[in-house]
C-alpha cells in the first residue's frame, strides 16, 4: 500500500492519511458547520440530521476552514484560551472527526 511513501494508516478497513502539523483540514462537503444561539453550541448539519458539538469540538472545527494548517489552528486556540500544550488533544480530536467523516485533509 506504499505506507512509507504516503504515510497512510489503516483504520477499520479504511485507509486514512495520517494527520501532521502541516495538514490542512476542512469540514467535509456533506456537512455544514454553524453556530446555533438557541442551543449555545456549534452543530454539524447533514441530510435530516444534526450532530451537537461541545465547546471544544466547536472551537476546533470552526477553525478548520481549508486554509489553516493544524499548526495554525493549535496556535490560535492556545492564544484564544491563554494556554499551551494543546497539540496532542487537538490532533486526537481531528483524527476522531475524520473517522466520523466530519473532517477531511489531503
Amino acid at each position: 500500500m506504499g505506507t512509507e511513501r504516503c504515510n497512510c494508516i489503516e483504520v477499520r478497513g479504511r485507509v486514512l492519511t495520517a494527520l501532521t502539523l502541516q495538514s490542512i483540514p476542512r469540514v467535509s462537503p456533506g456537512f455544514r458547520l454553524q453556530y446555533e444561539p438557541a442551543q449555545e453550541c456549534h452543530v454539524l448539519l447533514y441530510p435530516e440530521g444534526m450532530v451537537k458539538l461541545n465547546q471544544t469540538a466547536g472551537e476546533i472545527l470552526s477553525r478548520c476552514d481549508g486554509q489553516r494548517s493544524v499548526n495554525e489552528v493549535v496556535a490560535e486556540l492556545e492564544q484564544a484560551f491563554s494556554t499551551t500544550g494543546l497539540e496532542t488533544d487537538v490532533m486526537a480530536f481531528m483524527t476522531l472527526a475524520k473517522e466520523q467523516l466530519w473532517l477531511s485533509w489531503e
Partner: protein, 394 residues
C-alpha cells in the same frame, strides 16, 4: 415522510445529555426539527401513506405569507432542520419562495418528495433558491413497486430524477418504504440504490398509522421476512462500507419494545399541517380530547411552550401503570400516544407494542394474522380523496 428524525448526538469528546429531572417540569428545549407539510395533494396513491385518512376534509392550505411567518418564528425559536413535505411538496408553486426564505434564515432544508414533477428546470430553480438536500422516495404504490422490480417505466423515471439530483450537486438520498409486498426484494432494492449512486439509503419499514393502518394486514411482514431483510442489509453494509450509508428502520410491531416517538412528545419536533394546525406529530389530530392551535391565530412560541396540546404528554407525569413505575420510562416515554389510542383505545395507555403492555398479545396476534391474509379478503385501499371521504364520513 415516514421516518422519525435522526436524533442529534453529542461529539465523542462531549458530555452526555440530560440532567436529572426535578419535581418541577423543566422548560422544553427548542423545536429543532420543523416539518412543513405544505399540501395533502399528491399525484400518488400509496397504500402506506401516513397522511391522515380524513385528509380530504382538511383541504384548506395556508398561504405563502403564512409559511414565511412560520419559518421566521420557527427559526427564532431555534428550529434548524426543516422538512418540506406533504402530500407532494412540488405541487406548491411557491416552493422556491419558501426555500429561499429558509436559506436566508439559516435552516438546513430537506425536500421530501416522490420526484414526480422534479424536472431539471425545477431542480435548477430549487438549487438556486438554496435547497440543501432532496430525499427521493421510492415505491409509492404496489403497482409502481411491480413496475420498479420489473425494470420498466417507473424505474427509468426515478433513475432520471436521481441523475437530476446528482447533477445539481445535492447529496443523493433515497427513502424506500418497506412492507410485506417488497421486503423479499430488498437485495435488489439496495443494489439499485447503489447503482444510482445514492450516498444514503433509508429502508423505512412501514409504521402502522393512517393508510398503512387501514392496509395493515396486507403490509405487515413476518418475523422471518424481517430477519432475512436485516441479514441482507448487513451483508451490503459490510460490502459497501462508507460508499453508501444504509439505515434500516425496523417496525416496532416486531420489536416488542416501543420507540421514543418523535423523540418525545413536544421535545424537539413540530409539524405544521397544510391547513396550518401545529402538531407534535403527523397523526396527533386523531387523538380524542385534544385541540391544537393554528398558526394563523397563534405564534409558534405560544404554541410550543404554552399550548395544552403540546404540553399534554410532555415528560412522564401523565403516565399510567405500568409506564409510571417502569425503569425505562425516561428512555422511551411510554411509546406512541397515537398507537396507544389506535390499538388500546386509550391515548394514555402503554403503547401495546411494548411487551409490558397488558394488550401486547393483540399486536402479536396482528403480526401472526397478517401472515395468512389474502388480497381477496382485505383488498388494498389506495390513498385518494374518494377513499378518504368514504373512510371518514362523519
Amino acid at each position: 415522510m415516514n421516518t422519525t428524525p435522526l436524533v442529534s448526538s453529542t461529539a465523542a469528546t462531549g458530555q452526555g445529555a440530560g440532567a436529572s429531572t426535578p419535581a418541577i417540569k423543566p422548560r422544553p428545549g427548542p423545536p429543532l426539527w420543523l416539518l412543513a407539510e405544505l399540501t395533502y395533494r399528491c399525484p400518488l396513491h400509496c397504500v402506506f401513506c401516513y397522511n391522515p385518512v380524513d385528509f380530504a376534509h382538511h383541504d384548506d392550505e395556508i398561504s405563502t405569507d403564512d409559511w414565511i411567518r412560520v419559518l421566521q418564528q420557527g427559526r427564532a425559536l431555534g428550529a434548524v432542520q426543516l422538512g418540506l413535505s406533504g402530500g407532494e411538496p412540488l405541487l406548491r408553486d411557491d416552493l422556491e419562495v419558501i426555500v429561499a426564505e429558509a436559506k436566508r434564515l439559516g435552516f438546513y432544508s430537506n425536500l421530501l418528495t416522490s420526484g414526480v414533477g422534479l424536472t431539471e428546470e425545477r431542480a435548477v430553480a430549487l438549487k438556486a433558491a438554496g435547497l440543501d438536500h432532496v430525499q427521493l422516495s421510492f415505491q409509492d404504490s404496489t403497482r409502481e413497486m411491480n413496475d420498479f422490480l420489473s425494470h420498466t417505466k417507473t424505474f427509468s423515471l426515478k433513475n432520471k430524477v436521481g441523475k437530476i439530483i446528482k447533477d445539481q450537486g445535492w447529496p443523493m438520498v433515497l427513502n424506500v418504504v418497506i412492507h410485506r409486498l417488497n421486503i423479499d426484494h430488498i437485495d435488489e432494492i439496495i443494489r439499485m440504490a447503489h447503482e444510482m449512486g445514492a450516498e444514503y439509503l433509508e429502508l423505512a419499514n412501514t409504521q402502522y398509522y393512517s393508510w398503512a393502518f387501514v392496509n395493515r394486514s396486507q403490509l405487515l411482514p413476518t418475523h422471518a421476512q424481517l430477519q432475512e431483510a436485516e441479514k441482507v442489509t448487513e451483508a451490503w453494509r459490510a460490502k459497501l462500507g462508507d460508499a453508501m450509508k444504509i439505515f434500516f428502520v425496523a417496525p416496532d410491531y416486531h420489536e416488542g419494545k416501543v420507540k421514543k416517538c418523535v423523540n418525545g412528545w413536544g421535545s424537539m419536533f413540530m409539524t405544521i399541517a397544510p391547513d396550518g394546525f401545529a402538531l407534535p406529530c403527523h397523526t396527533a389530530r386523531l387523538l380524542p380530547g385534544l385541540t391544537f392551535p393554528n398558526v394563523k391565530e397563534a405564534s409558534l412560541s405560544d404554541i410550543w411552550y404554552d399550548s395544552d396540546g403540546f404540553n399534554r404528554y410532555r415528560g412522564t407525569g401523565w403516565m399510567k401503570e405500568p409506564c409510571a413505575s417502569c425503569a425505562h420510562k425516561e428512555e422511551d416515554l411510554g411509546g406512541c400516544r397515537c398507537q396507544a389510542f389506535m390499538l388500546a383505545n386509550d391515548p394514555d395507555a402503554t403503547d401495546p407494542v411494548c411487551s409490558l403492555s397488558p394488550l401486547h398479545h393483540t399486536v402479536q396476534a396482528a403480526v401472526a394474522e397478517a401472515a395468512s391474509v389474502t388480497a381477496q379478503e382485505h383488498p388494498l385501499v389506495f390513498r385518494d380523496p374518494v377513499n378518504s371521504r368514504r373512510l371518514s364520513s362523519v
